[in-house]
Amino acid sequence: MTPVVQLKAVTREFAGTAAVREVDLTVTRGQFVALLGPSGCGKTTTLRMIAGYLQPTSGTILLEGRDATRLPPERRNIGMVFQSYALFPHMTVAKNVAFGLQMRKVPAAQIRTRVHEALDLVGLAHLADRRPQQLSGGQQQRVALARAIAARPAVLLLDEPLSNLDARLRVQMRQELLRIQRETGITAILVTHDQEEALELADSMVILDRGRVVQQGHPREVFRAPRTRFVAEFLGYENFLDLPGRGRITIRPEHVDVVEHDAAPPAGGESVTGTVAAVRFRGTDCVVTVDVGGQNVLATTTNDSLRAGSPVRLFLPLDRAISLTGTDSVPGDGGQGTPSLQHQQESPA
């Protein structure tokens, strides 16, 4: 089956600096792909190149198997939901949704039913005659979605579509988005810097770091086996340890056992000794920060007798430790071997 979207070694430079470097990406029909990464990593740039609003400096973009690298946006058959929604202020909701159909020369009678269908899908059929300014943020979001999918584009592009909504509405709209994508079977690419959003929605996750793809795969897979420290940190992992003979590993605080410092090292894992640096009481348990030879390691424990300065031994079960086999591609990334844990106090997702 031909992929709906295919990027081959796509690079985009701004004034000589690459915002997107050699990105390869394949999106098959019906897939929901999330482009994920920190601010400035090139997510929007990648999406805008797929939509045709930006030209790649080099590389090829194929849409449904055809070379679309130089095609203008109006000839790409895409549907885009903008962060600002970009609803036409001088048109009613229905006219907004009808616009793409008119441009594609769909007969008027058919337009009416398809506008109604699209608005029905997002649950806004009753607001068809309103102006965008008369709608709430969440409603505008739905209109933008209806407008983007009404003409049944080959791919739906979403640039942080939920970022302008408040927290509760955001979680609710995630479910809506998922339902709509499942009901229509539309191929979708979602840009987000919210890993939870990506985990919940996408069936493929692409993580970008400074314009490069650093890992891609099913969200569960990526979450279980981050390849590099960058990916692991981005997904909320906090403990990074260099173990002799095992290389760099990461492990969740709840999987680290705090044992007596003079206890015999148990089998089936590694153990390290250190000193308690800080204790944070959370009610049912404590999060202790342990200084292990200069590296901070977080662990949860129900032992509430630990105080700062107590010597402890940490047991790291091997089946819980994740080996970080990849190295972060671009040199100069945050201090190799020196975990930066002090500012990441919340527990991982």
Partner: protein, 261 residues
Amino acid sequence: MRRRPVLWGLAALALLFLLGPILLMVPVAFSSGDTIEFPPPGLSTRWFEQALDYQPFLDALRTSLLVAGGATLLALLIGVPATLVIQRYRFPGRKAIETLFLSPVIVPELVLGFALFQQLMVTLRITALGALLIGHTVLLLPYAVRVTGASLAMSDPALEEAARGLGAGPVRAFFRITLPVMTPGIVAASVLSLLTSFNNVPLSLLLTGPGMSTLPVEMLRYVEFSFDPVVAAVSTLLLGITVVVALVTERLVGFNKVFSQ
């Protein structure tokens, strides 16, 4: 009224100061007497009849309307595309071009008028009507650029992209989306330009020639040697037209829209 008597008192005074002379002018226009005097000895419409019979005023009115309409049209034809380029594209020298379009506001009008007089009428030997048209276009350009620019700046630049993504080519995206979004700004700029040109004296004073004059200039000339209430009658007519224009604009786009820009 009761809460802040000083404030309201000052506001009333200011209003009286601004509107007082205008309100005194109206009864004078309806005077039956031969000179400007207040209160008028009696009421009549003879000065209106005389004003409408006075050929130099009629010619000047025609010139004024022609110049105001023509210069507004020209200023919009140049100013609107310029605004689009300035607002939507980033290129070297963008700020300089923007400043250039806004600079006539800073240059004293008499200086501008004299410069244009020298260049257009003396050096290039352009007719008075041509010079008036060009001069007023220059005068109005900043309004066209400012007011339409403000309406464009308030709109989301992603609108055009959205239209393109939905299948509209650049031309259709412009006419279906960008232009309608700019329309209130363009209407506001037109009204402002028409009134500015129609009321202008300093520039017109230098660019009018023998047998070619705008209404305000002609009125000025008239009062230099005459004290009858004809000018009051003309002023009253102009006042009436201005009020009508204001009401129509209010109806079309809303005043808050025009003046918040």
